[in-house]
């Protein structure tokens, strides 16, 4: 509107003269401290933890959304089971072959079974769970929540006095946790069977040695830590997906970016957490026989 107006207003506005130019700032706006860019990652991390705490507290608040939980559980399970089983066979095989050829060089062939099973149960299986939960389930959850957010559905829900965290996020996080634990069991079994098959058939290992070394090296806490990892991974994947989904930046493209980021962030977090948990576990749980 730069063209001169034919008519002037009856009197100049009683406000102080408006700032000129598009870049002018508001007069007498309350002075805001400019947030430092350096601290931005810390702020995001803090918000993520705040959401984790809010979700953990909302888990125990009534009413529990049974229906939503079952729907989400079914959804997460249905998108992860088949890929998990399909991925775990070659994964178990790769580990069996690799460990097998290594132990052959070392002359410890009879321990192939134990070594490969431990690798599958403690490491491979939780990592596959992490990949599938964050890649398949997390991305779907993030996209779902993100598109609800930009369509103001979450605002509407909050306005009606329903907390989106309790109504939507808690069932999703619990569903990813439960599916992760169950999936971990499935992958452990399928991966171990795959390893056994490849070791015995392809590398001429003996079934007896495989099983004997297995029970000589593996112990029950190995399974516990594996399931515990899966539980934690499920929680983190659910929280990160929900966090990015609840805070998309700017429209439909923002949702796409959020999904992308949620998967990448989850991957990085999960691998890091896996390292920490493994280190702690190896420190506090003595290896069998030592």
């Amino acid at each position: 509107m730069t063209a001169p107006m034919p008519v002037r207003p009856p009197e100049p506005p009683e406000k102080p003269p408006p700032p000129t130019g598009p870049g002018a700032t508001a007069p007498a706006a309350p002075e805001q401290r400019r947030p430092s860019r350096l601290l931005a990652p810390l702020r995001e991390t803090g918000k993520l933890f705040a959401l984790a705490v809010a979700v953990a507290r909302a888990i125990f608040r009534r009413p529990f959304q049974v229906r939503e939980f079952i729907e989400q559980f079914w959804f997460v399970a249905s998108v992860t089971i088949l890929p998990a089983a399909l991925v775990s066979i070659p994964f178990g095989a790769v580990i069996a072959l690799q460990v097998g050829s290594l132990t052959q060089q070392l002359g410890a062939q009879s321990f192939t079974g134990g070594a490969s099973v431990l690798a599958v149960i403690q490491q491979a299986s939780p990592i596959i769970v992490a990949l599938l939960i964050s890649g398949a389930a997390g991305s779907a959850i993030c996209a779902d929540l993100g598109s609800r957010k930009i369509r103001e559905e979450l605002d509407a829900m909050e306005v009606m006095g329903v907390s989106p965290i309790q109504r939507l996020v808690v069932p999703r996080v619990l569903a990813t946790m439960l599916v992760a634990v169950l999936l971990n069991g499935l992958i452990s079994v399928v991966g171990t069977l795959g390893g056994y098959f490849f070791n015995v058939i392809m590398q001429d290992g003996t079934p007896g040695a495989y099983l004997a070394s297995f029970s000589a090296l593996a112990q029950l806490p190995d399974l516990y830590i594996s399931e515990f990892k899966a539980l934690i991974f499920g929680f983190i994947a659910g929280i990160v997906a929900a966090y990015r989904g609840l805070n998309p930046r700017g429209g439909p493209k923002g949702v796409g970016d959020a999904v992308n980021q949620s998967v990448v962030i989850t991957f990085m977090l999960l691998f890091f957490v896996n390292m920490v948990l493994t280190a702690i576990y190896l420190q506090i749980v003595p290896a069998k026989g030592s």
């Binding site: 509107m1 730069t2 001169p4 107006m5 034919p6 008519v7 002037r8 207003p9 009856p10 009197e11 100049p12 506005p13 009683e14 406000k15 003269p17 408006p18 000129t20 130019g21 598009p22 700032t25 508001a26 007498a28 706006a29 309350p30 805001q32 400019r34 598109s147 609800r148 369509r151 103001e152 559905e153 605002d155 509407a156 829900m157 909050e158 306005v159 009606m160 006095g161 329903v162 907390s163 109504r167």
Partner: protein, 328 residues
Amino acid sequence: MGIEVVVEGLTKSFGKQNIWQDVSLTLPAGEVSVMLGPSGTGKTVFLKSIIGLLKPEQGRVLINGVDMVNSSERDIMETRKLFGLMFQDGALFGSMSLFDNIAFPLREHTRKKESEIRRIVMERIDIVGLLGAEGKLPGEISGGMRKRAGLARALVLDPQIILCDEPDSGLDPVRTAYLSQLLIDLNAQIDATMLIVTHNLDIAATVPDNMGMLFCRNLVTFGPREVLLTSDTPVVSQFLAGRREGPIGMSEEKDAATLAAEQLADTAPPRTGPRTVVPQLEPSPGMPVRQGALRRRERVMSMMGQLPEAARTAILNSYAPAAGGARA
């Protein structure tokens, strides 16, 4: 009876950009208020601040003693059950049918039986004229229908405070007129406090008891409708007349140079004398008398002394002829 909403010294910024500052007003219990303002003056932000979706940096919004800005999340959630908010584009849940959408608050907050829920929901669907569409998904209906469904959802819990964000956008003039009448009838029936945010002049002229206007990061005025409708403040008169001449420019406010040019070009805006105040809508025949209007009458009469001359005349005119009739 509705609940009074007291807003005190509210200030909201997004980053460095100040939206509005020091907004203070009181929405009287059970009365209909309209907040006017050019596009982009933060009307929707104001609405969302009242209900606690956005947190202003300063000020309070008091409802039943709960501060929607600073109180605990639990109290705010509880207080929100008193509200019905009609979003600009309905904000329906895309994965649910209209029926489930409208039944959502009932299913979440009440322990009513499904047959009872069905009865209430169908009644609301009938009120907003959507019978027959209850099985459709929000993606399958027009924007105006979504809007009306959003209103039905806002009404389903018999709210004490109803907030409408641009009820007219996306509706044709006839439906807008029906909607105006619907809002007044609702007010007569449930005596809820209502705040309508709009820039539709028809709604502004006929529906509210009170009017306010946001412009240039400030609340220009808030008071009985006659005050704004007869106001000589340049911003208000420009807005109500829909003229180009005045302080409001294409991008919110005009810069000094343009204003000066307008002043140089000096031809006084065509004054049509004091604007005539259109009579307010009455509830449809058969509806109860609006308790809010009765209370307002007493309130306005008691503050008569502080009002400008033009507003005083308009108020007296509006009450004089039909005083004994439907209004009183």
